[in-house]
């Protein structure tokens, strides 16, 4: 049996990887995927902490967060599609119309 703390550690590791990927990757889809990794890492943290404290509510919360992540994914992909249609690129450097 793998102790719960391992899952918690894994979730923190995943979250950190998500942050790193968000900052070093320069194309929108990958940045967006990094955010999704972070959200799911947080979900894993919720589940492992709920398991550790022996209550079910943490797992119920995850249901809601998954739904929120799906809604965000849909709107995010739609926005990325919109900018792709306009500029024909998803490189983040190309989006510099406003500055200052």
């Amino acid at each position: 049996m793998i102790p719960v703390s391992y899952f918690f550690g894994l979730s923190l590791l995943l979250f950190a990887l998500g942050i790193i990927a968000f900052f070093i990757k320069r194309d929108l889809i990958t940045m967006f995927m990094a955010v999704e990794v972070m959200l799911n890492a947080a979900n894993l943290a919720f589940i492992s902490l709920a398991k550790a404290s022996g209550s079910l509510s943490g797992q119920v919360i995850v249901f809601f967060i998954i739904t929120v992540a799906a809604a965000e994914a849909a709107i995010g992909l739609a926005i990325i599609l919109l900018v792709f249609r306009q500029k024909k690129t998803i490189k983040v450097e190309e989006f510099r119309l406003m500055k200052g």
């Binding site: 249901f63 809604a71 849909a74």
Partner: protein, 114 residues
Amino acid sequence: MIEIFLVFVVFGLLGLVLIFMNRFLGPSRSNPNKEKPFECGSPYLQKDINPFPIKFYLVAFLFLLFDIEVAFFFPWALVFKEMKVTALVVMAAYLSVLVIGFVYAWKKGAFEWE
């Protein structure tokens, strides 16, 4: 416990070593023909992989949304027996919101392929 961890470490490192061993040990002799996407000798017909038509993305979003919403049916089905009519009313309200979203997508032409 520590054994499992060690196994992961050892095999992880082994994997890394194997991946990079190729690059270090293998000879690297390149020529223009080798750099082509297909090394089969005959000229290729198109240059890159074509991007998917945008229509697929639209269907994918809609699928994503309506698919995830169904996740809420499972806990509902578990408590349905205890909650009786309340459960039905709640699910009816929930579904009607989804149906309105569906009607909106339909009327906006999101399901039309051409």
